[in-house]
């Protein structure tokens, strides 16, 4: 065979390519295509082969994948935003204004905010699809529950991020939400049963020790709240959600991959 090799083929059979992708060449045979998935740390989230309905958009809606993709978009845009944002009452608002007014073609904040809304919707629709295909049924019960936790964490991530611009929209939305914590049964100073947790006249649950105080780090929304929400938003919740995501993805594979008719 004296066929001329294309540049692409030459590169893909060279030493550099082979060393990076474990085995070179354009994957054309069935075996080679299977090895592509097995040899890649990223692709091996997937199985090697799938039932044919699993690649159809009308079945999957791609919402689970989109949720994960949005998580990545939000992580990257969030890291970029962290370079410019200082979580103090003095600077938070002006840093956001700077972002919109000083950065030419700056849309990182837009990407982050609309991406967050889109992620909430994508997670909801993913759940909707999983329900409508009955995919929560055995053996996938536990993974459904993990998914519910991921949904809650998604909402909490969005909620904590809502405060960070420190404008009127932000603090009053968070005020409405965090006031609810003050009404937690037994643990909120205005919740039912809180007055029962007392010795004599000494109440344990007061405005300065209840669930709301713990959430916002003070009696009123302020410096401590902003820092608390910032840390939760950037480190705390992403850390937790990543653990649950790992379990979620792993269990998809362990429970037999995408659900199929019995």
């Amino acid at each position: 065979m004296s066929e001329k090799k294309s540049i692409l083929e030459k590169i893909s059979e060279g030493q550099v390519w082979k060393s990076i992708f474990r085995g070179g060449g354009v994957p054309t045979t069935r075996r080679q295509r299977m090895m592509v998935v097995l040899n890649s740390v990223f692709l091996h989230l997937h199985p090697v082969r799938l039932p044919k309905h699993a690649v159809k958009l009308k079945f999957t809606w791609c919402m689970g994948g989109l949720s994960f993709f949005l998580f990545l978009i939000l992580t990257i845009s969030g890291i970029l935003l962290m370079f410019y944002y200082r979580p103090t009452i003095e600077y938070a608002y002006t840093d956001i204004i700077d972002l919109t007014e000083q950065v030419p073609f700056g849309i990182m904040r837009e990407i982050h905010r609309w991406g967050a809304h889109a992620m909430v919707i994508a997670v909801w629709l993913h759940m909707f699809r999983v329900f409508m295909t009955g995919s929560y049924k055995p053996p996938r019960e536990f993974n459904w529950s993990v998914g519910v936790i991921l949904l809650v964490l998604t909402l909490l991530l969005s909620f904590t991020g809502y405060l960070l611009p420190w404008d009127q929209l932000a603090i009053w939305a968070i005020a409405v939400g965090s006031n609810m914590a003050g009404a937690t049964p037994f643990l909120g100073s205005e919740g039912p049963g809180a007055s029962l947790l007392a010795i004599g006249d000494v109440n344990f649950i007061t405005k300065a020790s209840d669930a709301r105080f713990g959430l916002i780090g003070g009696r009123f929304l302020g410096e401590a709240t902003l820092l608390r929400f910032y840390v939760l938003h950037c480190i705390g919740l992403p850390f937790i959600i990543m653990i649950f995501m790992a379990v979620h993805f792993w269990r998809i594979r362990k429970d037999g991959g995408i659900s199929t008719p019995v």
Partner: protein, 372 residues
């Protein structure tokens, strides 16, 4: 034109809108055989054909386009943070259609004794992830990134005046995805609407696979074999969650008053609120005497009613209407299922009691912050 707008304003009042949805719901998403047959007989399942989708989407879009001509409608719908919710409405219609049309299609195939659309024979009907899945993912990713870029360039993220803790906006709204819960604050106290109810939703969602244990219908769209569970889920998801979000976002104005989509948000509009507690109704209005000073005696009517609803009713149902479930689920699963169902039904019940009888609380113990 003005007449049409005031008609829309009138029928979007929660009393009418919610009642219409409540009555129509079981016919569109039938929970049992009787409703299912009516659904088929009245040809409501035509909604899940291509023509049905076209009509639903067209009506929604025409409504929005028509509405945007109105300045009050425009000012609320085009608020940056509300734009995703308009998108959500269209997405919900589309994806409800997409799942229901495939479910009805599969139901038909199963009636004819044919395998469902998702049926495959391993290993022959399997495809390789590389390239069959990877390229679908790549295209979705590129298209979606393009969509995000266009959205982000076209619509600036909202930024209002700097935070001022001493000046509260009217209305002060939670982030949009919590507005269904905030709507519930009208009917329940914060400890319930803001803390217990969300916890119950989370627990209830996680409990679904442990209560609906019928292994049939896993891995493909279907409706006929799982009418009840699908209907309950769709009711919670579409009506109690999303309809309330839409109401909370678009139709709730200053002082959390109701405003039609074409109505000006007048913050000085007066609303006479003369809500009364059950104890006041019972002792003052019906028995024509003063309220007893003993708290337990005062709240006895409400406590007894709640005891009957949560303590006696589940037992009665287990022996009669829901006997089948009790036998199938066993004691603890049945108890969880029925409690969640009853508390879910109480949400609309309380709404109606408020609308028609101005009932504030069934049990009212402000001494202990315990109002229900």
């Amino acid at each position: 034109m003005e007449g049409f707008k005031s008609l829309i304003n009138y029928i979007s009042n929660p009393t009418i809108l919610f009642t219409a949805i409540l009555v129509g719901f079981p016919f569109v998403f039938p929970p049992n055989d009787w409703f299912y047959n009516v659904n088929k007989k009245l040809k409501i399942d035509k909604l899940w054909t291509k023509k049905g989708l076209f009509v639903m989407v067209a009506v929604t879009i025409v409504f929005f386009v028509f509405g945007l001509g109105d300045s009050d409608f425009r000012s609320i719908v085009l608020k940056p943070d509300n734009v995703p919710i308009s998108g959500l409405i269209i997405l919900l219609i589309f994806f409800t259609w997409l799942s229901m049309s495939q479910a009805y299609e599969n139901d038909k195939l199963m009636d004819e004794g044919k395998p469902v659309d998702e049926y495959y024979e391993a290993p022959n009907d399997k495809v390789l992830v590389w390239p069959d899945l990877v390229y679908v993912e790549l295209i979705s990713l590129v298209l979606f990134s393009a969509f995000m870029l266009i959205w982000s360039i076209g619509l600036p993220a909202p930024i209002e005046q700097p935070a001022n803790p001493s000046e509260s906006p009217n209305p002060a709204k939670a982030p949009w995805y919590f507005l269904g819960l905030q709507e519930m604050l009208v009917y329940y106290d914060p400890w319930y609407a803001g803390v217990v109810l969300p916890s119950l939703i989370i627990v209830g969602l996680m409990a679904i696979p442990y209560i609906d244990r019928d292994p049939n219908g896993s891995g493909f769209y279907s409706y006929k074999n799982r009418k009840l569970s699908a209907s309950i889920y769709l009711f919670g998801w579409l009506v109690l969650w999303n309809v309330l979000i839409v109401i909370g976002t678009f139709l709730r104005g200053p002082n959390w008053g109701f405003f039609g989509p074409f109505e000006y948000w007048d913050s000085h509009r007066l609303e006479a609120l003369t809500n009364v507690n059950l104890s006041e109704l019972f002792y003052v209005k019906w028995l024509a005497m003063g309220l007893p000073s003993n708290i337990l005696l005062r709240e006895a009517p409400g406590l007894i009613i709640m005891f009957i609803i949560l303590g006696v009713l589940p037992v009665l149902l287990a022996k009669t209407l829901l006997k089948k479930f009790y036998d199938e689920l066993g004691y603890s699963r049945y108890a969880i299922f029925v409690s969640l169902m009853i508390l879910g039904v109480l949400l609309p019940v309380k709404m109606y009691l408020r609308w028609f009888f101005n009932l504030k609380y069934v049990i009212s113990m402000p001494e202990y912050f315990f109002n229900f």
